[in-house]
Symmetry: C2
Subunit: 207 residues, 2 copies
């Protein structure tokens, strides 16, 4: 199973590396980071650079696509090199997926018309603009399109996907291998559970 | 607050990028990836390359050190460039931390003598070899040494650390910003909760 993760400037690192780690540990999976041109791509904080080893032209027919999000999403909403690749790759994939604002790119590529989909809580309303039905859930499956909520939700999405693509025991094995037994120190990771005033502080961090 | 994450060949990507994302989003924090020499460092799957932008000599006095783990840990247990840097950086840090097998490197540097510490569940017994008291908890604080369990535990560790280094509200803001409201698809992320036979399958993945 060949997974391709496209990178673009100012992506959010965990959006890409969460699903990457899950899928790269899965037996029989290989993961390739791609960009318009191979080379270094720097994240939204400006302090982490990942290497894209393939161009989009090098990977026309992946089995799985994982589109990460990040502040840079807004700069590539009309980038036909990326959107065109997503569109044509989707003709070949078994699953086309996104994390965080990555779903806006699936939408901009025309893949979310009438689809149930999710994104980061701060952007949920924008999904309507690309024809999707926004759903405030952590992982949303709509046929072979799977979207995840913000940043860290990509880990849950990738494990869910792996259970479909392989089997539940394989996904469980990877979950145990990466010791994914989360114990967040606070109960505030969603606007539904966050104490009053926290949404404004979180928005100040991400915008 | 200056955080340095040392990279070495065959580290596990999420060990580094989980804490990185948490701390890089924190107001007033900057994070630098370092290695013996600046340049690309490739992970344990061979398919993700991160760029170290500093040498160890460039970052002698960080406020926080986060040492990631991975299969490559075993190859650097006697690497004096890395161990010597950890040892002398620890003289300056407010917190010296690790994820997964990274704690074996803290131990090899001589920092865990008599300390309560943790690591990936598969390696817990090895901590005794470096003089530590192994503790099967997700995040273990022993003075200014903070160790995390396997791979994904670095996210919980970094949020715990951030609450100490800044305040609880700041840590909560970052937790909400990265939508860390985990909903793992299975309850099997620890040997305590994993169904029978899964430990052997997970070990086959990571070894």
């Amino acid at each position: 199973m060949h997974v391709v993760i496209p990178l673009y400037p100012r992506f959010t690192a965990l959006d890409a590396v969460g699903p990457y780690t899950v899928l790269a540990f899965a037996p029989g999976f290989t993961v390739t980071f791609a960009a318009e041109r191979p080379g270094p791509v720097t994240d939204d904080r400006g302090s982490l650079t990942l290497t894209a080893t393939a161009s989009y032209a090098d990977v026309p027919a992946p089995d799985v696509v994982v589109v990460p999000g990040g502040p840079g999403t807004l700069d590539v909403l009309e980038d036909e090199a990326l959107l065109g690749w997503i569109r044509q790759a989707h003709e070949h994939t078994r699953w086309t997926t996104s994390v965080c604002s990555g779903s806006l790119l699936l939408g901009a590529a025309g893949l979310l018309e009438g689809a149930r989909a999710t994104t980061h809580w701060a952007l949920l309303d924008f999904l309507g603009n690309v024809g999707a039905e926004p759903v405030a859930e952590r992982v949303v499956e709509h046929g072979r399109i799977v979207t995840a909520a913000g940043v860290s939700a990509g880990i849950d999405m990738a494990l869910t996907l792996l259970a479909r693509a392989s089997d539940a025991t394989t996904a469980q094995s990877v979950q145990l291998a990466i010791e994914y037994d989360p114990q967040p120190p606070f109960t505030c990771g969603s606007p539904r559970t966050a104490p009053e005033g926290l949404v404004e502080r979180a928005l100040a961090i991400i915008t």
